[in-house]
Amino acid sequence: MYRLVQGAISTNLIEEITSQQKMNQGIGAQAMFLGQVRADKNSDKKVKGIEYSAYPLMTEKLLEELLKDSLERFSLMDIQIFHSLGFVASGDLSLLVHLSSKHRKGIFAVLEEIVEKVKFDIPLWKKEIFDDNSYRWIEDSKT
């Protein structure tokens, strides 16, 4: 499943998702990626948070396709993707990708591929908000 969440992703979700996996005892491996907003410095200004935006209909359609395609291609038992919309303060979580599979083999490579797709193939944008309330759109986030 995927969900677009307003604001930061709660750390309670981590326990909730990992606990849910007990329901399927065929699972032998879980892997999770957490994206956290970094308090970068740009000249003398510090990033106080990031504001995320999306093209809602298209974003949901492409996330749905990514889930379906990944489940089929990688024989995963479960995928969960949570992504923030709106303002997320530095230090808080803005992305959670969780995978479950029968075995650990290959799970990290698959996790990395899915995270990269969420970052670059889904219509989402972000702007850094600085402590003086000025902002800067992030147009190349390949780092």
Binding site: S53, M58, W125, E139
Partner: protein, 77 residues
């Protein structure tokens, strides 16, 4: 003429000064010419078009009520 709903996203919102507008255009190329005339800062910017939520490449005819979105490079996560 066809009445098209144009949507701007990410940094292109700042260039257009708005998130959406309507345009009379018969094709995507026609819309592009008009948009770049109205907002010269679009010229040279990297962006793709989505027509009714599907990314398109090249020219397409537009119908009345179509949704044409200008999508700058994605940057999630």
């Amino acid at each position: 003429m066809n009445h098209v709903n144009v949507l701007f996203f990410g940094p292109l919102i700042d260039i257009a000064g708005k998130e959406k507008m309507s345009l009379e255009a018969k094709s995507v190329n026609d819309a592009k010419v008009q948009l770049e005339r109205n907002f010269p800062e679009l010229i040279g910017r990297t962006y793709r078009f989505a027509l009714n939520q599907e990314i398109i490449y090249g020219d397409f005819p537009l119908k009345n009520g179509d949704e044409l979105a200008l999508l700058p490079p994605f940057a999630g996560g």
